[in-house]
Symmetry: C2
Subunit: 233 residues, 2 copies
């Protein structure tokens, strides 16, 4: 039966795609993917490209990166309806997403609009925060430890509570709010317990201890902070 | 240079291994893997087996599943020293771990004992809690939402706080403490917001709403609960 596949392509290195993601790409007819600036292929598309089959139709669509929810919803709705029509016409359709398809992904909004009108299958991927732990060969959690994953764009009180209540905290999108997070950790004397990994598994991968960073420093867009209270980085 | 590779093999389906995990298995000489009951291959070994090369030496070792930390540490130390010796003798050595190598894995203890005496590389894998979201095509988190991952064996107050402070909570090892978690969620009128996925991606995969489960029910060992406050399952 014609199916819509949401495929997580992992954090950057094409080798970090699952065998299932690779096999799924082989069986789809049409691939939807976000359009980057200047109509260039997106990061997700570059990761998946080595596995594209020859006959694959690629439909690059614009997913606005704007604050205005209405503008975003209008784009998502148009794209979701295109996907529904393609699947109903008998095509296997894919949508690729950086990292894991279930972690802060536009794919989830498309699913909401599609609302079970077509068959859907989600193919999990390695998320950036999974890969940062592998990059530095450090556990995310052990024994009965807790892990909190929080975007650095969340409200300051939530971030403070996450820091206070957990053994291990991953902060996604740290480049968007470094000064606040830096201050919260400095206040708690936790600068040495935090590390930032940028562009994990990409050619430009970079690791730096938080204590070696200026709070006002401009970090790469794909930067993630890992706080481990039992560690000294 | 001879290297020790920690390889996450994903939650169950061999297709959910990454291409990198498959390629890493091809280049190792010796694979260490936990010995299951009756000397049977472990779940992790069964997942990885389709990708074993012909000349691979498999060393099954016993990792005691006991409460006594000293007994566990003694076993880990013996195995870690064997691994160090094998790598120093020029072999590429692997250790496979169910799910992701950085999530509640014995591999992390081995790394602690090895303490940088040999070259180490960690290959990330799909963790069970990533796969449960894919199984039900449901986001783990969206927008500025938080995700907490906590073992159901953690202390009751921590579990209660995790439930109260987060949008999304994953509880690992739920089979070990279902009555307590059930009660905490019932007290908060959150039974309809929770779902349990057992043996995700395995042939015996099973999904059940928490509201359809008896609190005293015996769940499969590999069962994970997902609480999403904005959902009704």
């Amino acid at each position: 039966m014609a199916t819509f596949y949401g495929i997580g392509v992992g954090p950057g290195d094409s080798e970090l795609m699952t065998v299932k993601a690779v096999n799924t790409l082989k069986k789809i007819d049409i691939l939807y993917t976000p359009k980057a600036h200047n109509d260039q292929p997106s990061v997700a598309e570059k990761i998946a490209a080595p596995y594209f089959s020859e006959g694959l139709t690629i439909k690059r669509r614009r997913f606005p990166m704007v604050k205005d929810l209405k503008e975003k919803q209008a784009s998502w709705r148009t794209i979701a309806e295109e996907i529904v029509a393609d699947v109903k016409a008998g095509n296997n359709v894919g949508f690729i997403t950086l990292g894991d398809a279930s972690v802060y992904s536009t794919y989830s909004y498309l699913l909401g609009i599609i609302d079970n009108r077509i068959t859907v299958e989600t193919v999990a991927g390695i998320s950036a925060y999974t890969q940062i732990a592998a990059t530095i060969s450090t556990p995310l959690m052990l024994d009965d430890e807790l892990l909190e994953v929080i975007p650095a764009t969340a409200d300051a009180q939530k971030i403070a509570t996450a820091i206070d209540d957990n053994d291990n905290v991953v902060m996604m999108k740290i480049s968007a709010n470094l000064p606040l997070v830096y201050q919260l950790l400095a206040d708690r004397n936790l600068l040495d317990q935090a590390i930032i990994i940028s562009n994990a598994s990409m050619a430009t991968q970079h690791t730096v201890k938080l204590s070696a960073v200026e709070p006002t420093e401009k970090l790469p867009y794909f930067s993630t902070l890992l706080l481990k209270k039992t560690y000294s980085f």
